[in-house]
Amino acid sequence: MKILVCIKQVPDMESPFRPNGSATWFDESDLAFRMNEYDEYAVEEAVRLKEQLGGEPEITVLSIGPDRVIEAIKKALAIGCDRAVHILEPEVASREPWQIASIIAAYARDKQFDLLFTGMQSQDRGSAQVGVLVAELLGIPSTTTLVGFAWADGVVTATRELEGGVKGKVRLRTPALVTCQLGLNSPRYPTLPNIMKARKKEITTLQAGELSSEKPLTGSAAFRHPEKKGSGVVLEGSVDELVEKVLVILKDKTAVLR
């Protein structure tokens, strides 16, 4: 069995975001990067499947971006992926979902992957498109937002998270692609021997431009802090003062405090 896991490196969401020069996306300075949270579930689930199958499947982890994404790749290798593909794309921020999906599909097309795992979305862009687009481009079935995953005899049983706490169960035959959601698993903390082993695992570097030359389908502008709406009062100060102020406001503005 061959598995592909697609991961993205994103800024830590605590980081101070500032628009870049053209306000299409964020400026990268002063940002701390980490693996997209949803992709961590994808990596973990792939590795669990590998373990379930006695280590037989070979897991390739793929990430598109500048050299910094190697950090995320190494983490995935330490968690248990076997090999990695780094698709070098210094301008990754200006590549929108369609282009990213095209690059991944171009890479995966002739590789006969049985299963592809992606996160359900990235924390920074949040478009929730790439996984499904890849599956469509490859012409394989896919399903999204997994909080449960099982594999047996070439059939994936996926539990999808729907609204209102309801879940939906679906089955698909491999080859297939699934996108992973928070709640699917809790990713392991890589052990040191695995971190050390990961150093020796193969990382193939490919050029994004050589895989796909698709033009963007969308443009991005006006990356900005949202304007505050509503009555929003921001209170700061010592705890005691704050408590007093809040009580006054609550008594004044709500019917719940007498």
């Binding site: 605590e14 101070p16 002063d30 701390a32 980490r34 392991r188 903390y189 040191l192 021997p193 050390m196």
Partner: protein, 661 residues
Amino acid sequence: MDATREIYWNVGHGVVAVMYLLTIAAVSGAAFGFKERLEIWRQGKPLDRFDRRGDRAQRMLATVFGQTRVFRVKDGGVFHSLFFWGFLTLLAGTMLIMVQADFLLPLFRVTILKGNFYRYFSLVLDLAGLVAIVMLGGLFVRRFLIKPKGLETVADDYRIHALLFTILITGFLIEGSRMAVTELKQNPDLALWSPVGYVFAQALSSLGDGALPGLHKVLWWFHLLLGLGFISVIPRTKLRHILTTSGNSFLAPFEPKGTIGTINLEDESIEQFGASKITDLTWKDLFDSDACTSCKRCQDRCPAYSTDKPLSPMKVIKAIGSVAETSPKKGLVEAVTADALWSCTTCGACQDICPANIEHVNKILEMRRNLTLMEGEFPGDEVRTATSNIEVNGNPFGMAYASRGDWAKGLPVSIMQENSDVDILYFAGCYASFDRRNREVAAKFLRICAAAGVKVGILGKEEKCCGEPVRKLGNEYLYQMVAAENIETIKGYKVKRIVTTCPHCFNTLSRDYRDLKFDVPVEHYSTFINRLIVEKRLKLKPEPFEFTYHDSCYLGRYKDIFEEPRAVLKSAGGKLTEMSRSGYDSFCCSAGGGRIFAEEKLGSRINVKRVAMASETGMPILASNCPFCLTMFEDGIKTGGFEGKLKVRDLAEIVAERIEK
């Protein structure tokens, strides 16, 4: 009449051959027993503790014969030390008699045991025997009647007490029966030089000269056999501590306190990190278990044990020993339990007081390393979060790394990136950088420096957590990662001296980083400020206040810095009332060993207990010198209900308020 006696009186010189044969048998029995122990110790990994032999021997002699470590705790320690000295004197006396009777006299025709020397010899030995018996009695009363809490009494204890008591008593009975026949009437002046023997002789003399020689002979053989028995059981009972505990004062490390082995992360051949089995520990770690006297001093001092957590440093040592002896395949974590391992604050109180020089903390750390590096485990989710926050943002709070220097805006300090022409680099640490309360302290420290004309720089967003908490949690990998980054950053500037307000940063930068080839001098602000005051660069206007002072573990016990912070506070006008536990005996705030990240789920709260101790002094102010302590005490004051009674203040805050304008 001559002042001497006939050695082998009544038993005859014919016994010499038999006696020596038996002695050889007993000594070989003991040697054989130790060889068996040796096999147990040998299961451990190699470690060189036989360098600097001269220094080691010297230390051993001082520790053993001076009983310096035993004597530190008066309860039990006084009895033990006096008993030891008494018994040792008797042993030496017996040896001297052997030398006299079997070597000096037959070979050289020399008699030293005569005249005044013999008189004093008799007196000293008699008194030594008396002291030994009385002290043994004291130990007996303590162990079997008073039964101090936590002292575990096993079958061995009964047997050893009986054996020692019988040896001592039979010694006096032999002496008494001999004196009754040979000295009491014949040489009464001499008899008085053996006052205890004299009393025994008086009591026995009624038996008459007919019966006494027979009794003497029986007792003599009995005493001999007991003595030899004593020798042969040493390796097989608790008595082995006579050699192992002494040996440990030879083997104890010479490295600075708190030194932890730095794992070579480039070494690809290492398959096991930390200790999972006893074979992952060093032979010295296994030897330690044999050196433990079960005195429970470590346990008495342990903050985790005394707040009902499942950790007793003594039991950790015993558990390792029992695995090594009976089931070497068994997992150490299983034997010691993960809860016990995670409970340790690495305060070092156990190790500091242990009369046997046992190294508790590093064993716990080695087992934690196994949990963390091999199993990916954490004491709780919150610790995992803090750890990954350090990985991503270099601080446990998960605050954006870029905001690390924000606290210093508008304060008299330069960011090294912008201006590195400074006198000192202030390594602020995570708490001073992000925690509101500790930011105030950092700002006060900068004011003090400014007042003393010291130019200060900080790394700002280039600084990362020093790595101490994660290292103590066993995560050597992350520690070395952040350490390497800090070292590279600092080396990029020409830094003359680093000052920290955090004892944890201080220990780590000044000691742990040395292993990573970092050698900039590092100092804690308490000694730095003290020097500024002594050199009159910082002028204070003392304003009287009363306070009690908390010795943080990593400044006090680990770095032996006790006087300077007290001196600083006194020169600020402070009148100190010490807590019952201070100095080397100080009680942890609960935050060491990475516990600052972890919720205290087991037992009661260590910080509340410490705040209660401070409160008992009746002082309104608890002065501290560590951001972790400050944080824990603020919390302890709130959760323990000490608000309004006690305030915790950092040393820098107190000093800054008294700067002479």
